[in-house]
Every structure is written in C-alpha cells, then in structure tokens.
Symmetry: D2
Subunit: 356 residues, 4 copies
C-alpha cells in the first residue's frame, strides 16, 4: 500500500468502452490509486469524458470524472504510473508496448501479449508467482515499465473454479461449455437481432484462448519460466441472452480420482494465495460454493463479492471423468476490469510499483 496520504497516479486506456467504464467505476474512489487520466481513441480525445462516453450503467458518471478531458492513448499525454488498458487487440498491439517502454506498468485486457513467454498472465489469487517474469521481460525488451495481462474473461472464471481443485488433486482433462453474457462483446457488441430469444454457438477465437490460457495460468514457475500445467482442454463457447455473467459447465478429470465431496470441500476451503488476501479489491471468498441445487445463475449470482467472486455449484460425479460442476462469474468485473485492478494492487503490495 502507498505511504499515508499518497496514491499512485493511474490512467485508463480505452476509457469510453464497456470495460473502460468498469475501470472508471472501480477507480473513481480507490484508496491506493488516483484516477488521473482517461484516454481513448482519437475520435474521443479532446472531449469531456461525460460527452465522449455513452455511460451504460444506471449509476451516474462519477462527478469528478465527467468533466475530465479525454486524452489520446499516447504515453506523452498520459502522466500516470500505472495504466489500465481496456484497448481492443488492434489498438493494444502498439500502444501497450509503447507505454511499457515509457516506464508505465500496463495492466492489459487484450489478447496480444498474454501467451508471450515473458509476459505474466495472472489471476491474483491463483498464480501471483508468475509476476517473477517481469524482471526477464524488462531486461529482454529493454523496458523500464512492464506489461501484466489478464486472461480472457471466460478463462478467468474457469481458472478460479479450477484452481482449488488443481492445487489439491491435479486437473488433467477439462471439457468446458460456456454460456457467455453479451457484455463480453463490449458495446455496441452483439446486435439484439442476433441474440434475443436465441443462442449463438460461436464466438470468434474464443475457444483456443480458453484451451491455451488455462494451461499457462495453472502452470508453476520453473527456472524463471512458466511451466504449463499438463492439462488437456476442450472448450465450446456460446453466446446467450444474458447481460452480465459467464456460466461454464465443466467435466473434469483428475490425477487423484477423488469423489465429488472432496472436490467440493477443497473449493469450500480455498482462500487463494495469501499475498492476494486483504487487498482493496480482494473478495473475502474468491470462490463461493452455492448451496442450492440450481445455482449459480448469472442474473442472481453475478454480483457475489461485488462481482469479484466466482460461484461454483452442482459439484457431482461425472460418468466419464471424475467430477462435473458449474462455474459463473462477472465477466466485466472478475473477468476484466476488477481483475486488472486487483493485479495492480498485488504489484503494489509486492513493492513492484515505483515509489510514490
């Protein structure tokens, strides 16, 4: 945490979009971070944030923020120690390295650098040790800043549900079928004519992300590199007419063939990596075990832990592998903006951010 009375200056890149707005909401009154700069595309730059952003929530735009002038996504115009990036892949490709080169800590939600060997792909409660990659990253790339990435929003939900199980019993095989909320596609995103009363069993590029990112996130560190977990993953990605909350059905094969009761107990008792506890954005319980037989449900459970807890239910025997379950989490909070903010808090707690 910062010295008393001090905060790190932070910026949001892509601040006008759906994830950008979630960042603004989470950072508008943050105890450690001062939301100093909002940046977006050239089209928005120069306008006030209140004009440039089509505010999607029912709450008002935080007053302090509405009048801020939107800047371009250029390190020279963005005076901040930490940069939260909600940029899409095409904008992130050049902008994120430019900020890292200019000495900023970039917390990225884009897919571009996630799978690079020297880029940490971190869920704070699951694999904080992957931040050890940062030294190598900065050395190899000659950056005074760094890039830390989030996983894909569905992957993060899956990984949190899997982490307690993998830690105890060794996950070896996963079948995952997702039912993803429309907010996962941003705004304007999914046309209503495509999704009202419908299911779209296809989300471009989503399945390979889930299949590869899980292995990296659940891997350990060995000799300064991530040793991917030896897990085979088959993913089916679907879009459903739900506002927020990705639901994932999983069949799971384990190294240790324990019964569902032991799996449920492992989930119920898990609190995540000690260093991720007690941070401003940490949920009290990162993975909640639902007690009702028909839960989790996105509309009813999406705000658990203020959107930062994943809810798991229906832990039962799988007729083919070992265990079946359902996981659900808030794709915009837990799966994107909230995950980045928590990662930045983790960096601060580990003393990795510059002195403030």
């Amino acid at each position: 945490m910062p010295p008393a009375g001090r905060k790190w200056r932070v910026a949001v890149l892509g601040a006008t979009g759906a994830v950008g707005q979630a960042f603004v909401r989470l950072l508008a009154d943050h105890p450690w971070f001062d939301l100093a700069v909002l940046a977006a595309s050239e089209r928005s730059a120069g306008r006030s944030y209140g004009e440039a952003a089509r505010w999607l929530g029912g709450d008002a735009i935080p007053a302090a923020v509405a009048g801020m002038t939107v800047m371009a996504c250029d390190p020279k115009q963005v005076d901040a120690d930490v940069v939260f990036s909600a940029l899409d892949a095409s904008a992130a490709q050049d902008a994120e390295p430019a900020f890292a080169r200019a000495g900023r800590f970039v917390l990225s939600n884009a897919k571009n650098y996630r799978m690079d060997a020297d880029v940490p792909l971190v869920v704070a409660e699951v694999n904080p040790s992957h931040l050890e990659l940062l030294d190598a990253q900065r050395r190899a790339r000659g950056w005074s800043g760094a890039i830390v990435t989030n996983g894909n929003c569905a992957t993060i939900v899956a990984v949190l549900a899997l982490a307690p199980i993998h830690a105890r019993f060794g996950v070896r095989t996963i079948f995952a079928a997702t039912m993803q909320a429309v907010s996962g596609a941003g705004y304007p995103g999914v046309p209503s004519l495509d999704i009202l009363g419908n299911v779209v069993p296809f989300i471009r590029d989503e399945e390979p992300k889930i299949e590869t990112e899980i292995r990296k996130m659940l891997g350990g560190m060995r000799d300064g590199a991530v040793d991917p977990a030896p897990i085979q993953v088959s993913a089916h990605a679907n879009r459903v007419p739900v506002e927020h909350g990705h639901t994932i059905c999983m069949s799971i094969g384990l190294r240790d063939h324990v019964p569902p009761e032991e799996v449920a107990a492992a989930i119920a008792g898990w609190r995540g990596a000690p260093e991720a506890r007690g941070l401003p954005s940490s949920p009290a319980i990162p993975v909640l075990l639902a007690s009702q037989e028909d839960r989790p449900q996105p509309r009813r459970d999406v705000d658990a832990g203020q959107g930062m807890s994943v809810v798991v239910g229906r832990v039962r025997r799988d007729p083919v592998l070992d265990v079946k379950l359902v996981a659900m989490g808030h794709n915009v909070i837990r799966g994107a903006a909230g995950a980045s903010v928590l990662n930045a808090e983790l960096l601060a707690a580990r003393g990795l951010l510059p002195a403030v």
Copy 2:
C-alpha cells in the same frame, strides 16, 4: 398407408398442454390419421377443446377441433386405434398401460416405460428395428395393444446428430452440454422471473435420461433384445431464455479416429433408415449440415424441415477426443409430438397397426 379413403382413428391424451397442442396441430389434417378424440385431465373433461385449452400458438385452433368435447383419459371413453400420449409421468404411469391393455397402440412421450427392456424407445430414422420388441412386450404383458416410446426431447436431438457418426465410426464417449428452450418444460412451465436474462444450469432428472437413453437408442437388436451401445455419456443440462429449440454442444470420442471432415461428410450423406423415408412426417433430410460458422441457432433454424430436421454445425477437431459439434432441433416437434406421429406412421408402414 391405409387403404384408399380410410384412416385410422387416433386420439391425443393430455391434449390441452403444450405438447398436446402440437399433436393437435400435426394431426388436424393428417393423410392417414383421423383425429377422433381429445382427452385430458378430469378438470378439462366435458368442456369443449376451445374452452379447455389455452391455445399457445399464433395460429387459430383448427376449426374442426375447437368444438370437440374433451374426454377423460379412460380407454372406455376413447374410441381410437392409436393413442398419442402427451401425459406427464404421474398421469402416464397408469393410463398408458390401461390403454395398451385395452388394445390401443400408445405412442408415449412420458419417461415411465422408456427404459423397460421390452418397450421400444424409437427414433424412426435411427432404430426402427427396435419395434421388434413389441411381440415380446405384448406376450409378456398380455396386452392386445402396445406402448412405443419417444426419448427425452434433448436425447432425440442428440441421437439424430450422433446416428450418422455412430453408424460409420463407432461413438464411444460423449460430453454433451445442453441449452434447452423453455417450451421443454410445458405450460405454464418455467416462470419468467427465473429465466429472463438468465441461465438455469439445472433441469431435474434430465441428465440421467440423456446419459442412459442414448445408449439404448443407438444399440442394436440381438436375440430379440436391445444390446445397448458401449458409449459413455456425460451430460450437463441447462435452461436458457429461448422459446423453442434445444441446442447441444458435444465432444465425441470415436472407435475409428477419423478427422472432422469425414464426420461432416457422414452427416451430410445420411438419410436415415430406408423404411422411415417418404412417410408423411419424414423430413427430406433428417440431419442438416449448417454451412455458416455460427449456426445452428435455435431462433433461426428451429423450423428446418418443418421442425423435424436436426441441424448440425461447427464440426471440428476436439483437442481431447475426436470431434466437436453443435446440434439443434425443435424440442416440441422433433423432440416430442412430431417424433410420435412419425413413429405411428412407421408402425402403419410396417403393417403393425390393426386393419382399418
């Protein structure tokens, strides 16, 4: 088919419910069957069908039917050769055997007798040979009629998609995650407060049905009995805010480890059992291969083949087993009423119905 100018007299049990109404629609103008009797619960008996049924469709109740008096579900009051049952399990338990005992051919959608060894569980295009069980059934039970059952509505959709693959390459393992329409729960069925903007990852008793019925339906006949297919099935059943059409994501392991292209070709070329072709309710192509990468979708494809075709898409390599795909079919038509009517036509074509 019946002699020229003659039709079999048929009845619908449970005629006022959602599936019952689908039967009425399909039978109101059928070339082989004369819809002679509508029967329902005591509450409806004695009223005109137009009063007793809360008609759910946008079409008008067929005029010939609206004025018919609803009868009780009692063989003495139901003068018909063939009886289509849309009864729920509690009513079907006694009523269906009573009709079979009284000499009627009962085409059932209830779960009660599906897994009995001497009861055929038939999809006309897939396993018509299972009708050979009828002799043993009638002998063992002393019935002059018989019971022929449909599978669960999700199972039927899955089995049609699997049949072409199993016939060629031997299906051995299945992971199936369903996204089922609300009409699968009948009327009033799912409360809107439970499903608007939501997913409910639980349908009572659904997963075991899918896991067991597939094996029976895809099994062959040996020594006068069904030899279940040696397939392991893991099912995840979900309810989604869709009106009609169950969507099923499947990962499939095969005896012959062929690539997806061969699986797609097998599906594209399949026309089902020869004896099921050309019947009044047979779709021209029982399993359609979608050409667009984001199909099938329930709202857009549910009426394919007038609701009798299953649409399969996204046939692709599975990272763990052999192939992944998505199947979708109309749960009320293909998965219930239409399947029963087609089965009755099959009985007629095989000469199993009484002379008319």
Copy 3:
C-alpha cells in the same frame, strides 16, 4: 421514532411470495421495526422460512430470518403491533380485517379495501393527510387496529410522477400506457412462454385500478373525507419482458396550460410532504428528473434511491394536451413493500402507532 433501544414488533403476512420476500429484505435490519413474525398460507405454516420460501434474490436469506418458523395468518399466532400484508386478494379479504379487529395496524398491498371511503390509500410523500381517515375507520368498524393501503404498483409510480405537477398546475386529463415488469405478477406469475420476446397488452383488472386510484390519491381531505381529484384517466396496461420496473408513458392535460419547462422544473424541485422526509425509508429525492433523452429505462434506473425513487424523463410538449413524459419506478419496492414500510414509518412519526 421509537424510544431509544425499543422497536415495534412487526410481522409479514404472505412472507414467502415475491412481495413478502421484499418485505423481509427491507425489515431484516430496520432501525425502528423488529421483524418478529413471518406468516403465510397453511401450506407453509410450521416449516422454517428458509425451507418454505423459494428465495428469489441473489442475496442470501438474512440469517436471523431463515430459521424462523412460519406461522399461519391468524391474529392469535401473530404477536406484532404492525402487520405488513403481501397477501393476495382472496386471502386478504378476511385476514386483513381480522388483524385490524385484533388491534393491529395493517399495511396492505391488496386491492380489496383501497377504494373504501374510510380506508386511507396513501403514498407517504403525496397524501399523508389521508391518514386522518383512520379515526372514522376505527369508529365505524369498531376496530382497535386499522387498515392503511398502498395503491396498485403501477398507480404508485404514476402518482409520484403526477404529484408535483398536480400540486402546481392542476392535472385534469391523463392518458397512461404502462409497460409493466413480470415481477408485478408475483412468483411463479407470468409463464416464460407467454412473455419471452413478446408483449402482452392485457393485465386483468389493472386498468380500472389505475383509472380510479389516481383520483383518490391525488384528492384532498374535505370534512373528514377524501375529495377525489377531478381528473379523467385513460389507462392501457401492458406486460413486457422486464424483470423489475414499471414504465409509464403519460400525456397530461393541465388546468394551467404551462409549457413543459415549467412542468420539468416543478418535478425537479419537488421533495414531497415535509412529514415524509427523513424517515428511514424515504429517498432523498422522491422523483428524479432524468437528464438523458432516452431515460428512464427500467433495467438501468430501477434501483434509483434504492428502489424508492421514481425517475421521470422526456418531459415535452404534447400535441393534444399539455405535456408528455415517461415515468419509471421499482414495482416491488416503491410500488409495494417499500411503500408499505414507508407508510408504517409515517404512522410512527405521527404518533399513531401504540406505545412500544
């Protein structure tokens, strides 16, 4: 308010339903009221509340409440000073007078007694003076308790939007078209097959309630009786696929033909009856004026003022009458449970409740 350290004992009748659950949520931790008894139908009586109620929210049932035993709706079994009734009309008919006769203050949401001349129909911020009817009510009926009623949920939303306008300019004519949320029909309520992707332009008995209740609520007191406001109302009631929040389009004719700007200013400046301000459930601003041209919207604005504020937008000139606008409020909170709790607080503040 009660003396320090004391609270009134309160009960909820019909505690297991959708409105009953809203009462439980609002009363579980109330500064003035101690939720002492939960009562419901015979079917639920004797069971724990946690078992008897199918809890609809995403939050957990308040711990103190889950273990309470549900009582029958019988004054002898319900030891409480104030009784909040979420009973439907058939149950309320006898139960509510029985409680009033037994000395309880009944805050009712049923339609049965709303239009009785000696029964106050009160929105706390709008017509608290109608509570003067209580003396006559108790005298005439020989009750030691009393009944105070809420309006229909759509009426309450309309009346709050109209009150600031009527007070200043005299409302004379109203055309109101509602778009009402499914939660207004309770649970299980509206079948999903009826409302997914649909509009149902009919809600039984709803339009006459809106057309008559508005006149009573906006009426003044004269000679100890309510003098209905001289307003003609034409209402169109529709059900739409929205979870919570009734939206109402209104065209309004005024005694004083002022332009929309003055109407908007009257709304913006209105704070309601002074005696209703500062109560535990009073929203800071009872009627909020939306600043965006496409608001209010139920999904985005329904929780304004914790569900107790009505949001009004699009105040503009009407080509036929004087002004058009849109009003939206939370039908379960502002339109039912929250309105009753606020009315009880108003009774307490006026010293009408028995000493505690």
Copy 4:
C-alpha cells in the same frame, strides 16, 4: 397484371440490409416481378449477394439470388423498370430522385420525401387515390419516373387499424403509445446491451413522423392535392425486446361518438379499397379482429396474413375519448418491404407502370 409470360424487371436498392433482405424474400418468386438487380453501397458492390449480405433469416438465401453480383446504387448500373428502395435517409436523399429522373418507379421506405406535397404516401388498402399525385409530381420535377413512398413502419400499422374507423366515424384525436420491435432499427441496429430485459422509451425522430404521417395518409384528395385529415395525434414511441412486430395502444376520439361495439364491427367488416384486393401480396383480410382478450401479441400474431395483416384487439370504451384498442403488425413486412411490393402491384393494376 403483366401480359402472359412477361414480368417487369425490378431492382432492390439497399439489398443487403434487413429490409433489403425482406424485399429479396418477397420478390424471389413473384408472379409479376422479376428480381433482376440487387444494388447496395459501394462497400458491397462487385461482390456476390451471398457474400455481401449477412443473411438474417433461418431460411436459405434464394438460390437464384445468392450468386447475383451486387451493383452500385446508380441508375446506369440498374436496369429495371421498378426500383424498391430500402436505403436509409442519407443514401436515399440523392439516389431516389436520380432513379426517378432516369425513368424508374421508385418505391421508397425512406423518410425524405414522404411529406412532400406531390409525393404519394400510400397504404394500398387505405389511400390508393393518392397515386393521382404522380402526374403533378412528374410534371413539376420533370421526371419520367416517379417516387411513391411508404409511411414509417409504426405509422402504417396505426393507419391500417384506424382506416376502417375513420371511414365510418371520423377519427379526430389519437393518443398512441408504441412498443416497437428491434428489427425496426435494422441490422446491426439496437445493441443487445441496451434492450435485453429493458424498455427504451425513446426512438429518435419517430414521434413526429407518426404524428404527421397519419394525417396525410388518412386525408382525401381535393383539387389534385392531399387534404390532410383533421386529426390531432400525440405519439409516444418505445423500443421493447421483441424481434418483429410493432404493438400500438391507442385512445381514439371520434366525430361520431359511437360505442366500442360499432367500432369493432366496422373493423371486422372492412376489406380496404376494392382496387387493392386480390393483388398477389394483398392479405385476404387487411385488419383482423382478435377474439382473445389478451391479443394481439407480437410473437404470436406477427405472421398473420403472412405478415401483411394488422391485428387489432381489446376494442373497448375509453374513459376520456371514445374508444381504446391495441394494434399490432409486422414492421418489416407490412410496415416496409411488403407494403412497397403491394404498392407496386397497385401501380401495375392501375396501368401506371410502363408496358412490359
């Protein structure tokens, strides 16, 4: 109708959009018209229609059409007698007059020229006499072709419901609150994040269109000009989560203050202008009177008359004016593409199209 064996060559402008696709569906197998040219924006021109159009329906693109090359919206490239325009206002502004100048009959859905004094705004069954404006139009503008316009999609639904009433009893005042389907905004149109589980009480520029177009359409011809009907209209436009079908609640004041039964009888007996009967796209009954108390409903009634009939229900006494009712019609068919095709058939039947 055309001479035996001959058809008029027709084109669709804006063929790739949602309304354009509806035109393609209606014209692919039309008895009088040969769909000879598909034209769209520069972005699509030169590609095959199958590639350029994201086909929204569940049906396949008509085979004859999929391979056609999309042309630019330039009269030189569009060899056709009749041009159906699904262009939006910005594209229509120049293109439609250019086609009329080049001798084509333009059937327009754009708003640009609807209210011009010499441009007919026609619903075939309601005001075919307005086609008399064409002579003046062609003379004044020096065009060898002409422009005939459709009304706004909500206006057309309202006007059909009003026409039988106006003809008999003289409509004088209308309050109209619409609940409009998302397809009314085209594709991609309304973002799902805006409308899932929501109502948006605002559609840009929609209310003035409804308020003015009704008067023109229901007006008579006098001295070669349209004499607008003396009707005051107040409209409230709302977007709801419905795929197809605009629902409109109306309160109506009449010159003759007849009771609702007479109004209902006038609607039930109306068959529209004789010259619009029996055309290929004419519905047998242009305005259907619903018999159930909770109808019309968009999802259930939208396909009445193959999407060309408007369904009216709930005709009842209005407490302020004379009568209240609900009207519903298919916004893409009856409210746009189908209305244009019917208008072209009307031109053909009147001998206004060039010899073929």
